[in-house]
Amino acid sequence: MTENKPQSVEIDQISVRFGDVFPIRKLSLDIGAGELVSILGPSGCGKTTTLRAVAGFNHPFEGDIRIDGKSVIKIPANARDIGMMYQSYALFPHKTVAENVGFGLKMRGLPKGEIVARVREILGKFQLRQFEERLPGQLSGGQQQRVALARALVFNPRVLLLDEPLAALDKKLRSEMQFELKRIQREYQITTMFVSHDQEEALSLSDRVAVMANGKILQIDTPSEVYDRPTHRFVADFVGNANFLTGRVKEGEGRRCFELENPAVRIQLPEGDFPLGPAEMMIRPERLRLGAVGQDNGFTWRGKLRDRVFLGNGLRIMVELELGRTVQLDLSPEQDRGLADKSEVEIGCLYDDVRIFPLETASR
């Protein structure tokens, strides 16, 4: 294997047009050398269009795409040297596993002996040696996925693009393959970009997540930042579960505060730049806890337990607050034990776990 050093990808203000539709507009995204970045968004947000622009399958009418600092916008798809894995895997059904994996090397005109050697090497690494002579149709979903990945990696591409890499696998296999995919990406140290509509997949695999909606990137950051400190209401709603409570940001004593209406309940806000006016407060269900919280670093509400749903690794409960809203809490097994058969509960929340979104930016 000739060791390539990882290469950066810069997407610079590209816009793509299909007839009258502009699926992406002036989109920029920088991916560091060797980084694994996901584009997460609902279907139709333009994430696949972005991926295909990098692959060379559609042509931005403005902007530039650079790999390792050099523009590739004029290079045709078959000369960009990019490994691509499709959601359907797109394995060639009439070719054996070895022929599928070797296809990229054959197209590069490598001598037969070297092709065989390199195919064998990567099949060994992916525990696929015994399936060499099988056709893709004779493999399980997980094996097909590994073949598709091997085929995309064997020719040492400059960048790896993955289209919903785990979506076609069942739930069980998916969590196993998450670890596997991460391990392989680290081993090959290859700059990787993948698109997903599944927030779990994006959070667990990526170094950074770019959340996209309506052809624009709303937030790009590490998984925990995107989850814990979403910058847009849409991000908060799309990534993970969320409780939203409407109210308004007002001037308080010293710091600003958030006021729920009817009845008016004031919540101190931490330091920061919160625009005054109508806003929504967001709290993650697992950040709410049973029992009171000290007034200095949080607030406590009282309410009635309305419903409980067993999730296996925890309990989800619905609490109707005295102040008239209903919120959802996710309890871990330990907290769950403290609940017993109570119907009146106190729930607490730390100021740190509250996010405020001005209502103007409430996009969707």
Partner: protein, 260 residues
């Protein structure tokens, strides 16, 4: 669901249809072994003489060769055009595409009497080369069938495999020949078969163009007009046998399911 009157009725209908459709064919077979000179049913006795008569009567050999050559050429020409046109129609969208779609399918609904007449008119204005015109006519007639089968196979393959090949470094042409064509192999076989059968059997349109060189169906029709012995039943039985054998062969090798 057992003891369901619907089941009973629909099975009865299905079996009746079966009989209704196959009975005439069985009659043709039986008649071909008839011992008497008149083609009547039921036969008066059994004989193989009409099979011998196909050759000895002498009027079928040349038309058979003509039909065979015509059908074979038609398969080659039609399939070449059809594959290229299918590719254009499935992989690209361009203005006027749907007009071309409609035009390609139109011979399915335009009466063959009209098509035959049309080609006759062209032929009448530029005389000579009768077989070339016959071939053109047959290509027009078979193209829509070939296109239908190929479009259906191509739709199943989709563009993703081809794209995957391109992302692996193949040129568009290599991707088509190495990846897409092998996928639609069954469709190409099926289309070839249909083209051959349609061309070989065609009578309506062909009848307009024939003067010097007769095709087999035209020769058969001409023979029936003058003679009513079971020789044509014998030919029909042979044609039926050959067609059935071909269908079985396709079923064994690529599977009828993937074809129709």
């Amino acid at each position: 669901m057992r003891r369901d009157p619907f089941l009973f009725v629909s099975i009865v209908v299905a079996i009746t249809v079966l009989g209704f459709i196959t009975l005439p064919l069985i009659i043709v077979c039986l008649t071909s072994f008839n011992a008497t000179t008149q083609a009547v049913f039921p036969p008066n006795g059994w004989s193989m003489r009409w099979y011998a008569n196909i050759v000895s009567v002498g009027v079928f050999a040349r038309p058979f060769q003509v039909s065979l050559a015509l059908a074979a050429s038609c398969v080659v020409v039609t399939l070449t055009i059809a594959v290229a046109a299918t590719l254009g129609l499935t992989r690209y969208s361009f203005p006027g595409r749907s007009a071309i779609d409609a035009a390609i399918m139109s011979p399915l609904i335009v009466p063959q009497v009209i098509t035959g007449l049309a080609v006759l008119l062209v032929y009448a204005s530029i005389r000579g080369m009768p077989l070339a015109y016959l071939l053109a006519l047959h290509v027009i007639l078979t193209l829509p069938y070939a296109m239908r089968v190929l479009l259906a196979s191509m739709a199943r393959v989709g563009g993703e495999l081809e794209e995957a090949a391109i992302s692996l470094g193949a040129s568009r042409i290599k991707a088509f020949f190495l990846i897409t064509l092998p996928q639609i192999k069954a469709g190409v076989f099926a289309a070839s078969f249909f083209c051959f059968v349609i061309s070989f059997d065609n009578f309506t349109a062909t009848a307009f163009l024939v003067n010097r060189e007769q095709t087999l169906p035209v020769a058969i029709y001409g023979y029936i007009l003058s003679t009513s012995d079971p020789t044509v039943a014998a030919i029909a039985t042979l044609m039926l046998g050959a067609t059935t054998a071909l269908v079985l062969l396709i079923d064994r090798t690529i599977g009828l399911q993937r074809v129709t």
